[in-house]
Amino acid sequence: MLRVTWRNLVARKVRLLLSATAIVLGVAFVAGSFIFTDSLGGAFDDIIEGSTADVEIAYQGANDFGAGQDTRTMPASVVKDLEALPEVGSVHPQNNLQSVYVIGKDGKVVGGNGPPGLAANASGATSLTGRPILTVAEGRLPGAPYEIALDVDTAEKADYQIGDTVELATPGKPPVLEAELTGLVEFGNGSGLNGATLTLFDKTFMQDQFFGGRDVYGSISLNAADGVSQEQLRAAAQKVLPPGVVARTGDEFVKTNQDALGDILGFIQTFLLVFAGVSLVVGIFLIINTFSILVAQRSRELALLRTLGASRRQVTVSVVLEALAVGIVGSTVGLGVGYLLARGLAWVFGLLGLDLGKADFPVTWPTVFWSYVVGILVTVVASYLPARRASRIAPIQALRDDGSLPETALRRRLVVGTVLALLGVGSMVAGFSGDGSTGLSLLGLGMLLVLVGAALLSPIAAGPVIRLFSLPYRAFGSVGQLATQNSLRNPRRTAATASALMVGLALVAMMSVLGASAAASTDAAVRQNLTSQFIVSNVVQQPFSTDVAAQIRKVPGVSGVASFRSAIVELGGSSQQAGAVDPQEFARALALPLASGTLAALTDGTALVSKATADDLGLQVGDTTTMKMQGGEVRLEVAGVLSSAAAVPAGALVTFDTFDKGAIAPLDSLVFVNKEPGADTDTVRAAIEKITADLPTVTVKDPEGFAQEQKKQINQFLNLIYGLLLLSVVIAILGVVNTLGLSVIERTREIGLLRAIGMSRRQLRRMIRLESIVVAVFGALLGMALGLAFGAGLIYALRDQGLTDLAIPWLRLSLFVVAAGAVGVLAAYFPARRAARLDVLKAIATE
């Protein structure tokens, strides 16, 4: 029996290879996701370990992972107290800044908008790895005002040499600072900064420039005296620290940061794995179809085995074993391709500023394990259904000429499909009302169920839809007619092939609807909310110096300037983006629609919350809630609830005073500018642009341009998703190739007959192409319909999150259908060629 399995594998290797390709691609996606996130994690672990000393001291929350620029500082006397401790080997006080961007010789920000711009004074501390945190690679450290050192990579990217004058965009006053490059440093063990830039200042100059000339520090690193443990050092240091300041051991600090990093990496991994999952689902369709066809072609042989006394189990096992071999081969190759894919992902992220050029791409045991588990499980499970059908072939079929498989009743499909689809819709509805990851999981599960249900039901739709094709196909005469008939001959197979395409295209269509709706909602929000004439901002909302707003205020013709600051906070226990504004100025810049309360009611100690936040936390006007920021907690009374049409990138709006209490450094992320009614728009704009000209980090836009910029962001995100979905579409196309190829083999005799009675090779090729188009377009139409439904449902569910307008990109969707037709033509290439090349006599003689 094993030998029969093995011989079949060898005899049908090309067919099985196509199935294996589906597994290869799916597993590659899984493996790639693992390898990429491992690589990312490793690269950041190196940075964390390489920058942590024996004990790290700062105000509670100030140097947490993800904390914004903090305003709290320690006086120099703390350094003295620490130096007096016998456990201390050396004290390394430091100031850190988060938004100091190096402007390259070409006038552009190094690394683009994305990677952080770090700045500090060189503290001289030694890291946990035993090496100095920073080593001078060339030149010397800055020792005077207007001197800086840069990390080697940044200097190279910016094209700066020692002695050059470097331009920096800083959060200070004025924002642009020019300094002489005195040295190049290397970070840690030479692992690099993953694309972040590091600028080093002289200690005193930094205090003068950014901390009002006070002799204060944001953080202090300690190296222990000989024989003193981290914990002993920490305990000793903690005793002399002012209240609110905490000392943490290096190990604890590293662990906390790595855990926080792990959460983010986990999110990235999950995100990628979702798309891997989509590819695998599509792959399952392909494998089920391939094995169904192979089993159908071998039904006589399988029946023979049954007459020779093979049990049902033996037949099932022989087919599943074949799948197992395909799964093992596919997983192995997939693992290798996954490694390349991880490198590709690193390249894509490199375009966004995350430079992993120096990172390792480790293939760990869990990666190998999961790749094989997923690959083998998917193949074996997918082959099980066809295998079970194979086992139901009656032995007597070996004696009959038509070796057809027992057909399962369409009615059972109808029932199962409908039940699955309904369950899916239910799960989606539950997901809409649920929150966070549970809601998302339910939503995803619901979509999967609906897709599988639709796939089961699709053979029923195949008939009517395909008959629609017979109309335009009349133009091709009998060739067109034969093509339609052929696709109708086995609606199950046509539908299964189309379903694979349906899955990918449903998601593509859904994302298109989401994207178009997000763009339309942005337009509407900007049109309805914005009453200011200009917006100064950074594309990715990185914060910039408040001096920009201060200077704009002085421009003649400007009547109002409203700053918007933003920070990640915890509100009522859930993480939120919060914004801080001056209510009076803000009211002039935006006409914010409120569901209850007024913008004027926003005072120190109160907050306006978004509709979604109010719903999630059950807040009403007059309730109090707690906002937890890096510097501490603040109790706030809800002064109003924004309506869902309010275009503010925040779950809660507070006053600057609240952010100050939370020790969030004053940095603007958006500045709205109103001009006097009589002032000339172009003149005012030109004056503002003059202020921002030296700062490549920010630009001046009118509302229209502001909306455009946001829509560009949406489109970039959409393109990323399209890219990730592409793999599943590729697998589906392989499925079309495979099905067509197998049906050409099945119909060898018939094709020979057609050729014998005078059909030309051209006509034959055309017939196969037309069939392929039918399948592809049918799949695309199914996908579009489902995608539209998913998209509309999502928009309805997200209406409180600012997605107010449902827009359906009809043109784009029709282009997808046309593209699917083109894909059909491509997919038919090899099967059509094979059919056309068949030797007529041999084809007819084929049994």
Partner: protein, 249 residues
């Protein structure tokens, strides 16, 4: 005669009835048929198209089931057997030779012959295997694939496959139908030798009087019933009987 009487039946059919279709399209394939297939004998089942000979064989070979009545193979009643028991029966007690050979195209001749044993998970009996190979005269073709063999050679492989597991009874369904007369004669000789030399019970469905003449006994079927029986038939005797039957209808 004495030998067959002492041996008793290898398979027995008792009051077997089978109909296809319903209403006007109702066809009675087997009509209360009873028959003993005697161990160690070569039996031919003959009859015109639609006489029920194929259905009878399928029912005897556990490939099909009747509506009523019983089929016994080596004393076991097939009626009421589940798929598992039927599978075991086919594997251990029954051998098959098909009109269209039905070899597994991806396996060599040797592998095809050993397939039933491999399915059953049994080791081939070396001596028996060699004697079967010698009988079917295939020693030089054992490592060829079916498509490298002639029709006669393929059918000899199929016969070897049916014999190798030493089944209680071997069924042959028009084994010479796809062969020229010389190859056909070879295969028939082979079948007869296996009965003579090894005491194999063999049942063959055929409509060829020449083929039927190789057997010990010919059972004639018409309309699902046994209408005639010949012992030690000759070609002439068979032709006469057939002519008489046609005239009778």
């Amino acid at each position: 005669m004495t030998r067959t009487m002492s041996a008793g039946p290898a398979a027995r059919v008792a009051h077997l009835t089978k109909t296809y279709g319903t209403g006007d399209a109702r066809v009675t394939a087997l009509d209360d048929i009873s028959l003993d297939l005697i161990a160690g004998e070569f039996t031919a089942i003959m009859g015109p198209s639609g006489s029920g000979k194929s259905t009878l064989m399928h029912c005897c070979a556990a490939l099909d089931t009747g509506d009523s009545g019983s089929v016994y193979i080596g004393g076991a009643d097939l009626a009421g057997m589940k798929d598992k028991a039927l599978t075991a029966l086919r594997r251990d007690e029954i051998g098959f030779v098909f009109q269209s050979f039905n070899l597994v195209p991806t396996l060599t001749a040797r592998e095809n012959i050993l397939l039933p044993l491999s399915i059953a998970g049994r080791k081939p009996d070396r001596v028996w295997f060699d004697s079967v190979i010698a009988t079917v005269d295939l020693a030089s073709r054992l490592h060829h694939k079916p498509n490298e063999l002639s029709g006669g050679q393929q059918q000899r492989v199929a016969v070897a496959r049916a014999l190798v597991a030493r089944p209680t009874i071997v069924f042959a369904d028009e084994p010479t139908g796809n062969l020229d007369s010389r190859s056909g004669a070879e295969v028939l000789g082979l079948l007869r030798d296996s009965v003579k030399n090894h005491g194999q019970t063999l049942v063959m469905v055929t409509h060829d009087p020449v083929a039927a003449a190789y057997t010990d006994r010919v059972v004639f079927l018409a309309d699902g019933r046994v209408v005639q029986e010949l012992r030690q038939p000759t070609r002439e005797l068979i032709l006469e009987t057939m002519a008489a039957m046609t005239a009778g209808i």
